[in-house]
Structures are given as structure tokens and as C-alpha cells.
């Protein structure tokens, strides 16, 4: 059962490697959005330092959402999604594999890139650590919850915009605890509470979200 899911993740990663453009577009979107804010807000370091966690987290969230429609759309178009639904594995597990592959291709690169961009905002080293840790814990939840929206809007016209309309409200707790964790570290309050709640959200996003996603996929395949 599990090696089938791992083979699915391997297949998706190989596909991801073959289509570099998809990964690159997510990363460049993240870089561009983050670099826009100083131009809008102004160059004063202390102001940027204060806004940095929120900006970086919102940009990461939007970048993840950018790559969500493709999560199931390609498989739906070429018929592999039908085969996935008809495989002997429970569909929820298959979705978990797709979500993991999506996180490896979008969430993880964003997390590794964030500290580099944090330097643009003159963040202290401990803030950068907190930022990376919170993104590492939080981005899987973004993929897991986002998969629900991707499945619901599969093959629906105006899917991309609709997806963000459905998913952004559900992303708010992750954003609050994620950005809050960085801010708590910077102000010395300590981010233990934020990170543990973020971890809880991620567990929910990764272990509970696949079941509504699977149900939505079954409906889309009808």
C-alpha cells in the first residue's frame, strides 16, 4: 500500500523535474512579490524588519496557491486521474501522495528560499531561523488544505480565481500562527505556542484534508 504512494510521489517528482518551468514560476513569483513590498513601503530598515514576517508569509501563501490548480488538472486532462481513482489504494492515500509531491515541489523550495529573501528585510539571524522553521511546519498545511480547493474547482471554468476565493479563508489560521511565530521570536516572547498550534494545523491539513479532497475528486470524475 505505502510503496504505491511512494511510487506516485516519485512519479510526480520526476514529472516536476522534467517540467522545470512550473517550479521556477512558483519561486520567481515568490521573489517578485516579496521584492515589491519594499518598493511600496519604503526603504527604512526598521519598518521593513517589522513587516517582514507578514510579507514573507503572505507571499509564500500566494505562491503555493499559484501552483495548486495544476495539482490535479494535468492528471484529469490526460486520464491518469481516473486510473488513480480506480487503483486498489484508498483515494485519500493517493491524495496524500499528491499533496506530499506538491509540497516537495513548491512548499519546500519556498521555505529554503525565504531566509535569503529575509536578508532583503534586514531580519536578524534568529528571526530568519524562526521564519524558516515556521514555513517548514506551515507549508504542508497550505498544500493539504489547498488540495481541497484544487479538487473542488477541477475542470470548473474560472477555476484559478475561484480556488483562491475558496481557500484563502481556510489559510488564515496558518498565516496567523506562521507569521505570529516569527514576530513572537523577534519580540522575545518565544514562539513555542505559535509553532505547536501551527503543527496542529499542519497535522489536520495533512491527515484530515485528504478525505474531503478525495470526495471532491470522485465528484469531479463523475
Amino acid at each position: 500500500m505505502l510503496n504505491a504512494v511512494f511510487s506516485l510521489i516519485a512519479r510526480d517528482l520526476r514529472l516536476g523535474m522534467r517540467r522545470q518551468a512550473d517550479i521556477a514560476s512558483v519561486l520567481f513569483f515568490f521573489i517578485i512579490v516579496v521584492s515589491l513590498f519594499p518598493l511600496g513601503i519604503g526603504p527604512e530598515p526598521d519598518q521593513l524588519r517589522r513587516l517582514a514576517p507578514g510579507i514573507l508569509w503572505v507571499a509564500a501563501l500566494l505562491a503555493t496557491m499559484l501552483s495548486l490548480p495544476r495539482l490535479f488538472a494535468d492528471d484529469h486532462r490526460d486520464g491518469t486521474l481516473e486510473q488513480l481513482a480506480l487503483s486498489p489504494q484508498p483515494l485519500g492515500l493517493i491524495v496524500l501522495g499528491k499533496v506530499a509531491a506538491h509540497w516537495l515541489v513548491s512548499g519546500l523550495p519556498l521555505t529554503l528560499l525565504a531566509p535569503v529573501l529575509g536578508l532583503q528585510f534586514d531580519l536578524s539571524s534568529e528571526a530568519l531561523q524562526a521564519l524558516t522553521l515556521s514555513l517548514l511546519i506551515g507549508t504542508p498545511a497550505l498544500s493539504g488544505i489547498g488540495a481541497i480547493g484544487a479538487a473542488l474547482t477541477l475542470g470548473v471554468r474560472g477555476g484559478g480565481v475561484l480556488l483562491s476565493l475558496l481557500i484563502l479563508p481556510l489559510y488564515i489560521p496558518v498565516l496567523i500562527f506562521g507569521a505570529g511565530a516569527v514576530e513572537a521570536t523577534v519580540t522575545g516572547v518565544g514562539a513555542q505556542a505559535h509553532l505547536s498550534l501551527l503543527g496542529a494545523l499542519t497535522l489536520a491539513g495533512v491527515f484530515f484534508a485528504p478525505w474531503p479532497t478525495a470526495a471532491a475528486l470522485r465528484i469531479a470524475l463523475e
Binding site: 511510487s7 512519479r11 520526476r14 517540467r19 490526460d78 480506480l86 486498489p88 463523475e222
Partner: protein, 206 residues
């Protein structure tokens, strides 16, 4: 043994067929005939559990396929209009990936052998994007060479194939039926399948 009773399919507000029933035993082939839009594909999708019927039920070995769930899907091989292959992957990678997902053991040599029987020997390591429509269909059909699932649901398997390939696939289906497998087939070209009893089901009339 596959039994369907009182099946009804509704598309939009129109019901394509109503009170459809049939019974299929080991080693038997069911031909689905009917003009376009008569619900052949919908019936196939119902049989594999993708499309829930508006009315009626489908039983596999006495149990409804809804309750069987994964156990039913373990014995099912479905081939739709779409080839279900990834354009960026090579035929070999496609074959092995779908085999792993379907829990059918398929190592490198068996996969290459399957591709060779389908006349794709030279193209095993070429991304499917560069293959012709007919060749892509063969990659999709290559699964059937080593497929040991007992129920085959094939939607227009012969489309975009030349006569040699059609005979080859017909042979594969015949072998499957000889092994006691069941098959439900929709096709427009008249093809003789070397198999035991062949049942006919014409849609669109009732």
C-alpha cells in the same frame, strides 16, 4: 461474475437508458453497441464505479461494487478514451508507474517485452510527447499484456490502431477470456475476438 440490474443513467435531464440489466460469467465477452451519445461510455464508467447509477445496482461476485470498494478495484482494469499516460514520461516509465499503482508486479524486462509485443521496441526511452496518436494508444494498451485482473472494461480499445495492432489486441483479449477473465468492450469496428460466448447489448433502443 458481473451482474447489473435495473440500471438507469441520467445525463442532464435526459435519461440515456433505463432498466438495463445483464449478466456476465467467467470467460465471457460483452459487446456494447449503440450510436454515439447512447450511453456506452457512461455505462462503462458506471461498471467501474466512477459514475454512480441514477437507479439500479451492479454486483460483482454477489456483492455490490459500492460496498466492495478497493477489493473490486483490485480486480478491475479500465481503459477509457483517454490514454492515461504522461506525455513527459517515457513509455517504460509510464508502464512501470501504472503497474506499481495497480499492484501488478512488472519489472524492467517484462515492461520492455510488453512494449515490444505492441511494436514499440525502439521507443521505450522516448518521451511519449514525441509519439503518434496510434503509438500512444499502444502504450496505453501495453498494460494488457501482463495484466492479470479478472475484469477488463475497455472503451474503444481499437481506435487509431492499424489492422496488425487490432488483431494483436484482439488476441490479448481472447487470451484474457481463455484464462477465465471477463471483458466488456465498446467498439465501432467489427472485430472477431477468439473467445467463448459473446453477448451483445445494444443501447439507445430502450
Amino acid at each position: 461474475m458481473l451482474v447489473a440490474s435495473h440500471l438507469e443513467c441520467v445525463r442532464g435531464e435526459r435519461s440515456l437508458f433505463r432498466n438495463l440489466a445483464f449478466r456476465l460469467d467467467e470467460g465471457e465477452l460483452l459487446y456494447l453497441q449503440g450510436r454515439n451519445g447512447s450511453g456506452k461510455t457512461s455505462l462503462l464508467r458506471m461498471l467501474c464505479g466512477l459514475l454512480p447509477p441514477a437507479a439500479g445496482e451492479i454486483r460483482w461476485k454477489g456483492e455490490t461494487i459500492g460496498r466492495l470498494g478497493e477489493d473490486y478495484r483490485r480486480e478491475l482494469c479500465f481503459l477509457g478514451h483517454l490514454n492515461a499516460i504522461k506525455e513527459e514520461l517515457t513509455p517504460l516509465e509510464n508502464l512501470r508507474a501504472s503497474a506499481k499503482l495497480a499492484d501488478t508486479p512488472l519489472d524492467e524486462d517484462l515492461a520492455l517485452e510488453a512494449l515490444e509485443t505492441l511494436g514499440l521496441a525502439g521507443r521505450a526511452d522516448l518521451a511519449c510527447r514525441y509519439l503518434s496518436q496510434g503509438q500512444k494508444r499502444r502504450v496505453a494498451l501495453a498494460r494488457l499484456v501482463h495484466e492479470r485482473k479478472s475484469l477488463w472494461l475497455l472503451d474503444e480499445p481499437f481506435v487509431a490502431l492499424d489492422t496488425a495492432a487490432v488483431e494483436l489486441v484482439a488476441g490479448l483479449i481472447g487470451a484474457h477470456l481463455q484464462r477465465g477473465g471477463l471483458a466488456v468492450l465498446t467498439t465501432h469496428q467489427p472485430v472477431n475476438i477468439p473467445a467463448g460466448t459473446v453477448r451483445q447489448l445494444v443501447l439507445g433502443s430502450c
